[in-house]
């Protein structure tokens, strides 16, 4: 598979090639607005978490853009893991890897994948993945004594935020 990506299936397959590099756990792609477009990563990373992560990483680019720095690539090191973030036109590719991943190989793989999926991201032919229900309605609304639910969809408690698709206060 060497041609440009035109479908979500192609995109998934292309992202899958990143796993040829030892230590890469998976990857996901999101739009410049932070909407998750595709994922090729174990299910332990649920859609809600990836959607929120996408939003934050999109803001990372916006943050530096606000001070005049156009982000191209970012590497985040955590104790045992790395995130490799590559800007692809209006979208972004995020690779999740173990800390000891071979970085030159990862960079090369990311460049190749980036070239293939950039046109599709730029053309907008790849729709954003639906926002997971757990994220849209993060907490089960408690029932009133009469049995009717009292909280609207998307309700958050004061000071609350969502963590991995769940509400934390």
């Amino acid at each position: 598979m060497t041609g440009p990506v035109t479908t979500l299936a192609d995109l998934g397959a292309t992202l899958g090639t990143l796993k040829d590099v030892s230590g890469i756990m998976g990857s996901f792609v999101f739009s410049g607005g932070g909407q998750l477009v595709a994922r090729e990563i174990p299910p332990m990373f649920d859609d809600g978490a990836l959607s929120e992560a996408s939003g934050r990483l999109a803001r990372l680019r916006d943050t530096f853009a606000a001070v005049g720095d156009a982000l191209d690539v970012a590497v985040v090191r955590f104790r045992d893991h790395k995130l490799y973030l590559k800007i692809l036109g209006d979208g972004m590719l995020c690779i999740v890897a173990e800390g000891a991943v071979n970085m030159p190989a990862l960079r090369m793989a990311a460049n190749l994948v980036g070239r293939r999926i950039s046109p599709a991201l730029a053309s907008g032919v790849l729709p954003a993945m639906p926002v997971p229900a757990a994220s849209a309605v993060p907490a089960p609304a408690p029932e009133t004594p009469s049995g009717a639910t009292s909280r609207p969809a998307g309700w958050l408690p004061p000071g609350g935020r969502r963590f991995r698709g769940r509400v934390v206060e």
Binding site: M44, F45, A49, E52, A53, R56, L57, R59, L60, T63, F64, A66, V67, D69, A70, L71, D72, V73, A74, V75, V76, R77, F78, R79, D80, H81, K82, L83, V96, G99, A100, M103, F163, R164
Partner: protein, 273 residues
């Protein structure tokens, strides 16, 4: 090393009946403390330095107690670790009764000592440009102080970075950046406190400090979302320029912008990037 006497300025010592006798000239006290802890020794060590004599009590890979003429516990340990030359020898001093007076890892203790040394040398809080006469005066101080800016600020020759050799593939705190290369290699250097206050600045702006603080928080939160603990560092490559953001000490955030042609490989390796 099984040493009944460990000198870091080379005293003559009797040869023990069993084991190796070691004499290490020029070793740093911090090295010796690390070796003692990594060996998980149960021992009392007498340290004689420029501030007098003190005792460090080692047990189970930690410094659990310390005493000097002026202090006990953490304060005494930090006083001793501030000494830069002297002797270090095993002592037959009695083990203190009561619970340990120091409850932190030896790495934490050494980082505290490094921070104290840092803070003592950091008399120049920094003004950003455009803050009037006082700001200009402080900026002038910054120009003088920048020669002292180091990342981990372990300044004395012969001292080593605080690194645990048992953890090979984990990122480690960066080694000090030499005085001569700091200013020229990193035109922008910022140090932010955990609360976001600018502790030091060279060449940075308030906007960059704000951006770096927010970026730091964003990647921390992203890590939490994905179940990744322990943010270490962020490297950004821009269409023009690069930027490194990393944690250091107790919650400080360091922001560096290197000159375009600077090879960052060594720093990347130290940060695990």
């Amino acid at each position: 090393m099984s040493a009944s006497k460990r000198d870091f300025e080379g005293d003559a010592t009797p040869v023990p009946a069993v084991g190796f006798h070691a004499q290490i000239d020029g070793a740093s006290l911090w090295d010796l403390v690390q070796m003692e802890c990594l060996g998980r020794m149960h021992a009392v060590v007498e340290v004689t330095g420029e501030g007098g004599t003190g005792y460090l009590y080692f047990d189970g890979g930690r410094v659990v107690h310390a005493s000097t003429a002026r202090a006990r516990g953490v304060a005494a340990a930090l006083e001793i670790l501030d000494w830069t030359h002297g002797t270090y020898r095993a002592s037959d001093r009695a083990w203190p009764s009561g619970p340990p007076t120091i409850d932190m890892t030896h790495e934490g203790l050494l980082l505290h000592a490094a921070q104290r040394r840092d803070e003592r040398g950091a008399s120049n809080l920094v003004a950003f440009p455009g803050r009037g006469e006082r700001g200009a005066e402080l900026d002038a101080n910054v120009e003088l102080a920048i020669e002292d800016v180091e990342l981990t600020e372990i300044e004395d020759a012969g001292e080593v970075e605080m690194r645990n050799p048992n953890i090979e593939d984990k990122p480690t705190p960066p080694a000090p950046i030499g005085r001569s290369e700091s200013a020229t290699d990193f035109p922008v250097m910022l140090r932010l406190s955990a609360a976001g206050a600018v502790i030091r600045n060279r060449g940075g702006t308030e906007e960059l400090a704000e951006a770096a603080a927010y970026a730091h928080r964003l990647v921390q939160l992203t890590g939490e979302l994905l179940g990744f603990e322990g943010f270490v560092a962020l490297e950004c490559v821009f269409t023009q320029g690069r930027c490194l953001v990393f944690d250091e000490g107790e919650g400080d955030v360091v922001v560096l912008k290197p000159r375009p042609d600077l090879d960052l490989q060594a720093l990347r390796e130290r940060l695990g990037l």
